[in-house]
Symmetry: C2
Subunit: 418 residues, 2 copies
């Protein structure tokens, strides 16, 4: 079939299915989520086998270890995917919530009611667990979903999608609820992004070039899940032991994810006391340090950072370091070089803490905690579609509620406008 026609069909089917899904009760949705969760465990061998294919092909291409970390599935990760679906089952259904209701002096009774967005398209990197998370989240929030994952994870995604599609079929639900675009033909995305009559939002998650491409060619509203250039600023008033623990955790605990620290800023007055021990600890954990000239003055064995380093999301055991004059310079650095994702200050100074929270223009701003907490689960929101770095509609972890919109339902008794 012609690719244009094929993608159009997918979008039309998705819209039709979304109108059906909007009327499905919470009870049925929860029962299906339970079945989905069970099916992933029962058919894990099929999924792991497909994932092995993807892993070995990726290794042949010589990709980074952080990339393989995100691509790899194992029993534990499949259990986590399954558990995510169970948790979604337990979370309350956002659809139908009356966000606000009030009566006007003329007797009009206005209800602001939460409803599904409709059709959500997600374009994502090669992380197969995202496939089941997105299908579950969109399903629970009453949306159809069209998925386009990274080409390196196609076999894994196909296997996961196949397992879940069978659950929909067994429950007499239309297949258009969740479609995986199963071609690696790059024109598919261009075609998809023009179908604003059928698709309500597109969520790109991934690198700079992907996001730019989507933003510049989409006629559909976009919520960007952009890179995480996360900073921790160690203030002159920091508890330096706490700072060391937090910075180490934010860099080393899982370097391949978007909420890991990529850049550490240190106040000039504590740099001499803080940096030697901190950098020693990083180096012994295999972290490569790229510092400013002041950093290098204090710890001569570090590499010199280029301007580009401060703009880079390494997603790997590499860290840029900069010694700053003061809090103000730290905030300006973060707003200029950061990606408005997650940034933290370590300080015992009350005013500096508040000034940092106010001044840093990011989705999540922390005092005395690791940036690694920017996550739907860690926030207590349940699993998430990703971390929005946009300001419109959803900012930060994008969970069930952020996958909805609202409409105003107005109950009258013959009111007309004078």
């Amino acid at each position: 079939m012609n690719l244009n026609r094929e993608i159009l069909n997918i979008a039309q089917e998705a819209q039709r299915a979304s109108r059906f899904l909007a009327g499905v009760s919470s009870e049925i949705k929860n029962k299906v989520l339970f079945d989905m969760s069970k099916a992933l465990l029962e058919k894990k061998d099929l999924i792991l086998k497909a994932n092995k294919k993807d892993i070995s092909a990726a290794k042949k291409k010589g990709i980074t270890s952080a990339f393989v970390d995100r691509l790899r599935l194992d029993e534990r990760r499949i259990k986590e995917m399954s558990d995510s679906l169970l948790e979604l089952m337990r979370l309350s259904d956002p659809i139908g919530e009356v966000i606000k209701a009030w009566r006007r002096p003329n007797g009009l009774w206005i209800h602001k009611v939460r409803v599904p967005l409709g059709v959500v398209a997600i374009i994502y990197e090669s992380r197969p667990n995202v496939t089941s998370d997105c299908i579950g989240l969109c399903f629970k929030s009453g949306n159809s979903v069209i998925l386009r994952g990274g080409s390196e994870s196609l076999n894994s995604n196909l296997a996961i999608h196949q397992v879940l599609k069978e659950v929909f079929k067994e429950n007499a639900l239309p297949p258009g609820i969740a479609t995986l675009i199963d071609t690696n033909d790059r024109r598919a995305v261009d075609i998809l992004l023009r179908l604003d009559k059928f698709i309500d939002v597109v969520i790109p998650r991934g690198g700079e070039s992907l996001i730019h491409k989507v933003v510049s060619s989409s006629r559909i509203p976009v919520i960007k899940h952009y890179k995480g250039i996360c900073h921790i600023y160690v203030d002159e008033w920091a508890d330096l032991n706490m700072a060391e623990r937090i910075c180490f955790n934010a860099k080393v605990q899982r370097p391949g994810v978007c909420n890991a620290m990529e850049s550490m800023l240190v106040h000039k007055d504590i740099a001499v006391r803080f940096l030697p021990g901190m950098i020693k600890k990083f180096i012994s954990a295999g972290v490569e340090i790229r510092g400013c000239s002041l950093t290098k003055n204090i710890v001569p064995q570090v590499k010199i950072a280029t301007e580009k380093d401060y703009h880079t999301e390494y997603l790997d055991l590499i860290l840029s370091v900069r010694v700053v004059e003061d809090l103000k310079e730290a905030i300006e650095h973060i707003n200029f070089y950061g990606s408005h994702h997650s940034d933290a200050i370590v300080t015992d100074n009350y005013d500096n803490a508040l000034e940092f929270l106010r001044g840093v223009d990011s989705a999540c701003v922390y005092v005395n905690a690791s940036t690694r907490f920017t996550d739907g689960y860690q926030f207590g929101l349940g699993s998430e579609i990703g971390i929005s770095t946009d300001k419109l509609h959803a900012r930060g972890p994008m969970a069930l509620e952020e996958l909805t919109t609202y409409k105003y339902m107005v109950f009258g008794s013959g009111q007309i406008r004078e």
Copy 2:
């Protein structure tokens, strides 16, 4: 000066001013709004004089009466503009509101806090009152605004902007808070729409070609304020007297605005009883009727509607009419031909009312009331930037709250991720 450079300067100044404005207290903002409100009244002659220039130039071009209605200012409208600013003063400041806060088991204390969007660009039709409304709304919600109004209203807009700019100056506020693009060079908009580093959202209000142009060339997120093809469906169970009052109000009371009815759908079983009287009343009020063949069978003097009529926002004393089989066909017609703005059912049947509210995919859905109530004031939200026909971020009347975003502020005490 080079146009590229000029527009870039405007955007950079606006961003700088927005960072200043984010820190201005509610007290100061309210004092300035009071001054703005006073200044509009004190300098109304200047504004009316500029508006006269625009009106006579527009009349020479032979534009429609609905267009002139929107362009025209008089003492009453300037009083309304001034009152809008006073009402904004009285509304509570959305900035700093803690939307939600909770404590996690690990002791992290998460606050979801309302903050300004930053810089808002508004591209709008020739309605000069929008100029002061937008400046007031953006100012109260802590945002800088860049305005680009319809070329026919340039003199009026310049006068209003000048009056308000002087108030900012008297209050020692940066001029970048509100900028009016004062060239009619159409390239200015293209340049503006690429400046996503400085502008956080663009809101186009107006016709189809403007919206399409903005959506296809903008790198900045867009909230569309699209046309209002509003329907009223007269159900078989309608109180026909009420239906006549509501339909007449929705079409005739102010035909030049987006929440006026453009298309009337009538259930086949009451068409013979309802249409002759209704259409007679419309015709005597100067409304031209374009109906389906069934309508013409019942009232032979009406014109026949083309397919295009059902897609058209007349903004004038013209109405398309269609007789439908049932509620289902009415809902399908509205979802297909409508603009997802405001649609109403007139019925005494409980199930049909609920089915209409659920099934019609529009920002505002009404039972037994005129669509003319879709309006920030009428909803009790205060003045609005416009009516969003989008589903993301803001849907329906877009008032103060919809001009904000949020950030997560997380208070820790050394937490790291295990």
